[in-house]
Symmetry: none
Subunit: 200 residues, 4 copies
């Protein structure tokens, strides 16, 4: 996972990798502030590289968009492991769901691009699912095992539910989405108790 791009890992990794990181970081920021249609120059400038460099690594804009998306998915999924290691299961689940909500919110602008029909995006939904579903499954299972949440929730349904709840988050500066997600999490816990009772 740490070597996702540039698998063959040739020479000059220091320079090249630094640039690629800078570009992806800049693109993430610019996509968020100016949308995915922001001028290439804006991204190159913020990354401190020439446009030629950017084009060398990401010949099509969709390549860049996809790379940013994957990178963000990686980061968010990785955090599931970190949170699970550092917190009790219920707390880890809760923190990660909030983290995932943020991911969805900042990716709002990408949605339109993702559905543009560009083949470069074809694999992204699967990438999304294959990273997030196991991550959430693990967190859910751990929290269910300690009785902190109910155990009959499908990870995919939860991912999708939050995705939908977060949909209008651009409109909602008042944290409506986070409140709804919190409600949902409460629902998970509440269900756990009842399940426990039933089990007994």
């Amino acid at each position: 996972m740490k070597d996702d791009e540039e698998q063959a890992g040739g020479r000059m990794r220091a320079d090249a990798r630094r640039n690629e990181d800078a570009v992806l970081e800049a693109a993430k920021t610019v996509f968020f502030t100016s949308g995915v249609d922001a001028p290439v120059r804006e991204i190159a400038a913020m990354a401190g590289v020439g446009v030629g460099t950017l084009y060398r690594r990401f010949p099509k804009r969709a390549d860049l968009v996809a790379a940013v998306f994957r990178r963000e998915v990686d980061a968010c999924a990785a955090e599931a492991r970190t949170l699970a290691a550092d917190n009790p299961p219920g707390r880890a689940l809760e923190l990660w769901l909030k983290r995932y909500t943020d991911f969805i919110a900042t990716k709002r602008g990408l949605a339109a691009a993702l559905h543009s029909g560009d083949p470069a995006f074809d694999t992204l939904p699967a990438y999304f699912q294959s990273n997030f579903e196991p991550a959430l499954a693990t967190l859910l299972a751990a929290a269910a095992a300690t009785g902190e949440v109910r155990g009959d929730i499908e990870p995919y349904d939860l991912l999708r539910a939050i995705g939908n709840l977060a949909v209008g988050s651009g409109v909602d500066p008042a944290g409506h989405t986070q409140r709804m997600v919190a409600l949902l999490i409460d629902g998970l816990k509440c269900g756990a108790r009842r399940q426990g009772e039933d089990a007994v």
Copy 2:
């Protein structure tokens, strides 16, 4: 409502009105297929008018977007009356909710524009609500009166719920949204029966 634009009804309406209709119809189509940022020329060409004509009536793109939106709201709201006249209350409600779902689905592209902060869009949410809320309220009341659906549903909540359900509809070519909405309608009917039992 039938004379919303050009109220004073001046001279040469035939020509002008025909063009305006053509432009709005073309814009609706193009906005749907190519997004709200589609080239002005594309819309003008499809409407069979020169770009100048389009600019005369809609100096800013936002003016055109807003006009298309209002026109669609009008059409959808008007259909509530038609359906109510031609169908039994429960059926009318059901048909209109599907119609409204389609409205939301095709307006997906507008969402981003609407939240762009352009003052030309400031009045649209109110326009949306002031047309749809009464329309749905009437349908709901009629269907509740015949016992076909439960009577404790707020029109606004239902509008918003469907809006959220339909959110990812671009992603969903398999009619997922329509199935969810159907489920919701079933819930309305189901609630009606239970309410009836309670009442007894």
Copy 3:
């Protein structure tokens, strides 16, 4: 002279003439404030007529420019007669030269157009000269006859001199041009006295 345009003087003179006057007046103003390349619509709007009306009378922009120019020449030349009738010769001359200076100043924008090579402008210099030269000749002769100014000045030279002096008048908000013209007039008077002495 009072029927310069529309010589045949047909019916409907009231309406038509009123419009033509309004157009010329508006054009004069707009040419001064926005330049001779100002949008036709601006002129039509200020005149309170449709663009079609303007085009009917002045098919080419140059026609309008020429008509405005002639009208202003007429007005300025006519004033020579009025001033001569109402003032002593020296005073009349002085007042008219100031009037002529204003004419030149406000026509600054036209200069470029006049030299554009458009055939519609070919007759304007002659029109200018054939109106202004006699007008000034008369004033000069009268003032010379009373000994108020020297008698050896060619009207054309004076017209041209003032024209040149007024050349930078756009740059000169401080009345530089008017001061120079005043100086020139003083020169005329001063010469007169010396001539008188010589004559004795």
Copy 4:
């Protein structure tokens, strides 16, 4: 002075400088033939570059106009030195004044632009004066020192006088202006002789 643009002299100057030169040369020509409002494309085409190149270097039209103006001022002022080196003082003065007259004549179209109030032009008058005044002062002093012209002429007055004389030069295809300037130069020489006599 020889390195006015691109002082720091970065890399790739060959290409860029060549283009800039071509653009300025083309702009000078086009401004003269078609006026300062000529289409950008016309200039780009004549310079053999894309419009983008032109916009890169001169984002606003006023930038291009100002650059052309400065370049012409530079060229004309530089010629004062050349002429002084290659001719006797009186002849050098005479030749340069004719050269300056040409400069004024071809810049006629710029006058309106210069007084448009655009801040990009604010520094041009000072640039004009700070280049031409010393250049002419040197020529005048040298010619006065050899007794070829009178010594009581202010360079600025002479520059301005020729500027005014050349004002109608568009109208004057018959060399009227050059004749007037020649007359003026004669006056300078004539004054010199009389001054000499007075001195004796």
